[in-house]
Subunit: 363 residues, 2 copies
């Protein structure tokens, strides 16, 4: 961040949570910006947000070149400002990380119109003087989800009140965010006290607060995780989005810092049965996925350092690559192997896992 | 870093190592700056550097207020420049993190005289326009040891050639750096091919290259560790300074990223028998230290993910708080408990550990 924009950022002041009081929530409702993208893959963030928080998304904003349609009504920045939209959410990743000139014009226009801007891009909003200037004029706030708060505490491991569940996995990208959201949804349906706590950029958009934990300075990993799921009422559940895997040679440090800082009471194991090697290791040196029991034991060994009562309450399987006939026998085998209720969060929801939580943690 | 100083830093260009080729080495010999400090505690970095690299340190530079004497001859910046000193090493931490005006004047003078400046302070040299300007004029380079290279790779876990030893511990601050240096010294005495690889700020000064690994963005932890101990000749040993502890609720993420990225063949367990709780946890929630076997097993479980042959070759004990009569019985107990040769690196050196390495890894 530039010295100049640092002081701007201080004036804008959107990321200044203090220890354990959480971070500022985004202003709702949202206008989802899809820019000029032509491939669904580039719009994952926006589409995920719409899927899980449809009620908060009032419109989509697209350039004429955009070929994606999220199903939301089209809405211009001017209309959005008039109709009381709170935030302009960048729902797309620019191809190659480079921000096109016409996007920049839209961002400046949104900031000038007084809409807060929420971005998960690598490039920081505060690195663009035009955006910063427009935001200072209108009073809009700029949220860079990949820029953690500057005042992260060191982790302490001190016991916090309330209950916490963390999704962990045999690998990255096996459905940890989706599983956490499905569990949150089921708990909400039962009218318990619950919050989804995000640790990745799309999750943060859905949660409406937070930052990507893999962007923090390593020393503050567990401190950041402690901040993400602060102390709460004894009957409150935080459902925390996991990251990476303890067995992944690229990301295990992040996974352990998050595990320690989350001090989970309950863990859910996420798995993709078609995954053979840890994602990203295939080319240079393939790392065969660890087994289910091995993954459970490693996570319990580490989790119990901060919470001796930590236990697994379910398993979540990504079945998108399987035929319907394969699934029942596979789930039966996983249930036998782990002793846990097994779900496909997309097809089944998280009912049986929340049943298990209810049994294991009676209120 | 400011946009302005970022471009300065790019011009200065001191931290631009590329993947696995290590990082630029500091220019020797060193003039050690002690500023105006009055307490030995504030001069730990400089005194550690002098202890382990006496032959590279030609003088100390002090203001009249300084009450510490490192034993090196006093030398002014002008004399140092005339006599071919390579780097001006800030060997002190400013009390309270604040850089006094008279230090700043000395730093500018050193940069103007063409001495490279090496700093482990929290405040970055490149954040002071006066220093940057002086360095640009003279061609001096500025090394901020707490600022990692900007081009860190993600870790891959791919097997590298050469041998690696990592010191790990039951806690932080139990002698991991000192132990690594004692092992390096003993290996050098046997004329094997060896490098000390630093991961903390004082270690980096001693190694003459590198950066503090706890300052990297979490996603790049194991990638940074892979860069710190690059592939080498099959008979070459990297002796890597460990950080934190897998059982420490504040720092375990850093420890695991470093463990995975180092892919050690050999591990040495470091321990302070007077430590009851993990350092820093005493006040809020004391974490009783894990046992020796427990620590060994957790480290092996994690290390074997990246190197199935990883094994412990020794134990290093900080006996500074013990009476001489207590030590023999304690060491005997530790040897029985771990099956490892046990040393006090300060009193004994690392002979018996290197004997064990020689036996376990015949060339």
């Amino acid at each position: 961040m530039s010295l100049a924009s640092q002081s701007f950022a201080e004036k804008l002041g959107p990321r200044e949570g203090t220890e354990h009081d959480g971070v500022k929530r985004f202003k709702t409702p949202y206008l989802i910006y899809l820019g000029d993208v032509e491939l669904t893959g580039y719009a994952k963030t926006g589409l995920g947000l719409i899927e899980w928080r449809r009620n908060l998304c009032v419109g989509q904003c697209r350039t004429p070149q955009c070929t994606i349609d999220s199903g939301l009504p089209d809405m211009s920045i001017e209309e959005a400002a008039r109709s009381g939209v709170g935030s302009f959410v960048i729902g797309v990743a620019p191809a190659g990380g480079y921000i096109p000139e016409n996007w920049l014009q839209d961002l400046v226009k949104a900031a000038r119109a007084g809409l807060d801007i929420i971005s998960g891009m690598h490039a920081r909003l505060t690195d663009f003087p035009e955006i910063v200037e427009a935001a200072l004029e209108s009073g809009a706030q700029l949220f860079d989800v990949r820029t953690p708060p500057s005042n992260l505490p060191l982790g302490t491991g001190a016991k916090r009140s309330g209950k916490r569940l963390l999704t962990v996995g045999t690998d990255c990208a096996v459905g940890k965010k989706y599983t956490a959201l499905a569990i949150e949804k089921e708990i909400q349906a039962r009218r318990w006290n619950v919050d989804f706590r995000a640790t990745g950029q799309t999750g943060v958009m859905i949660a409406g607060a937070g930052f990507a934990i893999d962007c923090v300075v390593a020393d503050f990993l567990s401190g950041a995780a402690e901040m993400i799921s602060p102390g709460a009422a004894e009957d409150h559940w935080d459902i925390i989005e996991g990251q990476g895997a303890l067995s992944h040679p690229s990301f295990a440090g992040v996974s352990l810092g998050l595990l320690h800082g989350s001090q989970p009471d309950a863990l859910v194991l996420c798995h993709d049965p078609t995954r053979v090697y840890n994602l990203g290791t295939e080319r240079k040196q393939p790392f065969p996925l660890h087994g289910l029991r091995e993954t459970i034991e490693a996570n319990l060994l580490m989790a119990r350092r901060v919470n001796p009562e930590a236990r697994f309450v379910g398993m979540s399987v990504n079945t998108s690559q399987l035929t319907a006939t394969e699934v029942p026998a596979l789930f039966e085998r996983f249930e036998r192997e782990t002793g846990l209720p097994v779900i496909d969060p997309i097809k089944d929801g998280a009912k049986v896992i929340v049943d298990r939580i209810e049994k294991e943690f009676p209120l």
